[in-house]
């Protein structure tokens, strides 16, 4: 019989839809983003099956355009950006700092409603016909020539952007003001540092996207020529404005994932993390430097060679703090007492796949190479290695790691390990061939292609079955364990961190006894082994 906690406190629908409890809001987000993920993944599945044949197997070219646009919009704005911050961040930030809730609980609920509003708006737009501009909405196609629901798409994304900004605001104020009195900045878990860095980007970059979307909506609505060269406008201005947000946006997507890895690795190596301050500062450095590299999406757009040069150098620079983190995680593993649990497996998959993704980012930042592989499958492979191989692995790893804390249940460990293996192998089969495709010249967003590339597309598509199973399994067994899984103890991993001092699952006010802040974060002792 489980004690009274935030889940059992009140079963009414009103108590869920009008909750201001950060833990319940996290669950609301969990359900919403999973729905978004299924929509985005279905589009991806159709795309990959369509590409089995070099002439295209399933859909018309116009539908194909709408499908990859759907995939991009839903996955970026409705899955990747909210995933870790709004699910794990919402749940864990107050717990990790010893607080009762976030700084603005009602604003938190409002954030969720903005997210859901944006999602419903966008899904409706997709159902009634969709948009075919690509998630990047390049002008003047999007503002002048596209025969699809551009304004509605822009509105849906704008609404979800408000959710992002409010979330970031909430986290920043919470981390500044609501910490346990003994928890100084350098005793914070690195997950909090990464959420803080992410929130900085959320509040500063997202509004620029808002303005950009507003401008394309206005241009499309009134026929004025802000970005249309035929009317005196500048299409490159759109690209600059769009990428000024969208590059920092990719750091919104990956920084929280890195934070999760920084929590899991010390726990399952039973060692304090190597280079705590370096990782903390790297998070903030990535956030700041991320604002300086947007032009690397525009190397061949016609911007000056000097701009190309500067953006290339800065892009190399921004890779350094990420690399520091990878080195530090690896150093944490060295001479540790390793337990190969599911979260640890996800973390190792993250390190491997993220490293490949990050290194290929450097390849793309190299001007002479980018001229050839820009807008090819090389770019697609690069960002999927980081976002799917990295971010989704981190998200699933974090979900498994904190699942006992969130639900009070234990998931079946063996199935967890099977899922990671399926994800890892399916992922590599799907996306590794895409590097080769890009190198051989396969452009992005093409519904048909030269027949000699077919073998690579076929290998890539064959991987999605295994990858899909890797996603489906956790969906099934985690949901199953929520009802039928064996109850969990308060701290099954014997992990450090204030969230583990709360009961499992936590009561509404989070802590029953005041948590004790250790002298150091990650105060792991090597000889203690955890039993799974």
């Amino acid at each position: 019989m489980i004690h009274e906690n935030y889940l059992t406190h009140d079963y009414s629908l009103k108590s869920w839809f009008l909750t201001t409890d950060h833990k319940r809001i996290a669950i609301l987000y969990l359900i919403s983003i999973t729905i978004a993920f299924v929509v985005g993944a279905t589009a991806a599945g159709i795309i990959r099956i369509h590409l089995l044949s070099s002439k295209g197997l399933l859909v018309s070219p116009d539908t194909y355009n709408r499908l990859f646009t759907l995939h991009g919009i839903v996955m970026v704005w409705f899955f990747l950006i909210p995933s870790i911050p709004n699910v794990l961040g919402n749940f864990l930030v107050p717990l990790m700092i010893g607080a009762k809730d976030l700084a603005f609980p009602k604003l938190n609920l409002m954030s969720w409603y903005f997210y859901v509003g944006g999602l419903l708006f966008t899904l409706t737009m997709l159902i009634i016909g969709g948009v075919d501009t690509g998630w990047t909405f390049y002008t003047p196609y999007s503002t002048q020539y596209s025969n699809s629901y551009v304004i509605l798409a822009a509105t849906g994304i704008f609404i979800s952007g408000i959710s992002s900004i409010l979330t970031g605001l909430n986290f920043i104020v919470t981390i500044h003001r609501l910490r346990h009195p003994k928890m100084g900045w350098f005793k914070l878990p690195l997950f909090i540092w990464s959420i803080y860095a992410t929130s900085l980007i959320l509040i500063l970059a997202t509004p620029v996207l808002g303005m950009t979307l507003l401008l394309i909506a206005i241009e499309r609505l009134t026929g004025v020529g802000i970005f249309n060269p035929a009317l005196g406008g500048d299409p490159l201005l759109f690209q600059h404005l769009f990428w000024f947000y969208s590059h920092p946006a990719v750091y919104i997507m990956i920084l929280p994932g890195m934070g999760v890895i920084s929590e899991i690795i010390p726990c399952f190596s039973r060692r304090p993390i190597f280079g705590y301050r370096y990782i903390a500062f790297s998070s903030v450095a990535i956030a700041m430097l991320g604002f300086l590299v947007w032009g690397h999406h525009m190397f061949v757009s016609g911007q000056s060679a000097y701009a190309d040069l500067m953006f290339s150098i800065l892009s190399f620079l921004v890779a350094v703090p990420s690399a520091i983190k990878v080195f530090n995680w690896t150093a944490t593993l060295y001479k540790g007492s390793i337990t190969i649990s599911t979260p640890m497996l996800y973390s190792m998959a993250f390190i491997a796949l993220f490293t490949v993704g990050g290194l290929t980012g450097l390849v793309l930042a190299t001007l002479a190479i980018d001229v050839h592989v820009h807008d090819t499958y090389f770019v697609i492979a690069h960002f999927h290695f980081i976002m799917v191989g990295g971010m989704v692995s981190a998200y699933l790893g974090g979900m498994h790691f904190w699942w006992p804390k969130i639900t009070g249940r234990t998931y079946p460990e063996k199935w967890g390990r099977v899922s990671v293996i399926m994800l890892l192998s399916g992922f590599v089969i799907t996306f590794l061939p895409q590097f080769i495709l890009g190198y051989l010249g396969m452009p992005r967003r093409y519904h048909s292609y030269a027949p000699n590339l077919q073998i690579f597309h076929m290998i890539s598509t064959s991987g999605i079955i295994i990858l899909g199973i890797g996603y489906l399994l956790p969906l099934i067994y985690l949901t199953w364990s929520f009802r039928h899984g064996p109850g969990s103890v308060d701290n099954p991993w014997q992990a450090s961190g204030l969230e583990w001092q709360a009961p499992t699952p936590p009561p509404i006010e989070n802590f029953i006894t005041t948590p004790i802040v250790p002298d150091q974060p990650y105060d792991y002792v090597k000889d203690l082994e955890i039993k799974i």
């Binding site: 700092i97 010893g98 607080a99 009762k100 700084a103 603005f104 900004i165 970031g168 605001l169 920043i172 104020v173 500044h176 003001r177 609501l178 910490r179 346990h180 009195p181 509040i203 500063l204 970059a205 997202t206 509004p207 620029v208 808002g210 303005m211 950009t212 507003l214 401008l215 206005i218 609505l221 009134t222 026929g223 004025v224 020529g225 802000i226 009317l231 005196g232 406008g233 500048d234 201005l237 404005l241 000024f244 802590f511 005041t514």
Partner: protein
């Protein structure tokens, strides 16, 4: 557990963070304006000549005075002069409303002169594209600003009621301070818009 005393500053920090995001929202528009001003300087020069500098100057004075009113209201409340505080907020709202009225007259004049791009734009001259661009950006910048003024007025009405009922604590009238901060921001944005759109291209 989180220290209750520390929760004093959360509202103010929250407003500052929100204002930072609002600044970034405007950044794109200002950037577009500056870039196009450089591209088609002549057209922007001509466009600025259609601006009603008199109205703009009055509006600037109005907003600055209203900012003075709202900060005085805050000070009055903190020194227990509740009636004075209430009247000062009413004055702020009144001035803000006058700002919007004057702005509407300006807009009406532009529409009468057939200078509304996308709907009714008639202009004779070779710089027509550039002037259109000027006016698009003018309407967007001042329009979005006016919407924020309107939102601020609605918030201030709500604050005025609270002040009337003396709902805030005298040493920490958080709602009043935070609303005042927002109003100051709206004022500062205008202080940048006014010279940029109305003044610099008249020289």
């Amino acid at each position: 557990m989180n220290n209750v005393n520390d929760e004093k500053l959360t509202d103010k920090i929250g407003m500052w963070v929100f204002l930072a995001s609002e600044l970034c929202f405007l950044l794109g528009l200002f950037l577009a304006f500056l870039i196009y001003r450089r591209e088609v300087h002549n057209a922007f020069h001509l466009g600025a000549s259609h601006m009603n500098v008199f109205a703009g100057t009055i509006n600037t004075a109005i907003l600055l005075t209203s900012s003075l009113c709202v900060v005085s209201a805050d000070w009055a409340y903190k020194t227990q002069k509740f009636k004075q505080s209430f009247y000062l907020i009413i004055a702020t709202i009144f001035l803000g409303a006058i700002f919007l009225v004057i702005k509407s007259f300006e807009y009406a004049q532009h529409v009468q002169d057939h200078l509304l791009p996308g709907f009714d734009f008639q202009y004779v001259g070779k710089d027509i594209r550039g002037i259109k661009m000027f006016f698009v950006l003018y309407y967007l910048m001042t329009g979005i600003h006016a919407l924020h003024v309107l939102a601020g007025l609605l918030v201030l009405i709500f604050i005025a009621l609270k002040v009337y009922k003396k709902s805030y604590s005298t040493d920490d009238p958080r709602g009043l301070e935070v609303a005042g901060l927002y109003w100051h921001f709206v004022d500062i944005v205008w202080v940048f818009i006014f010279p940029l759109l109305y003044l610099v291209d008249r020289l």
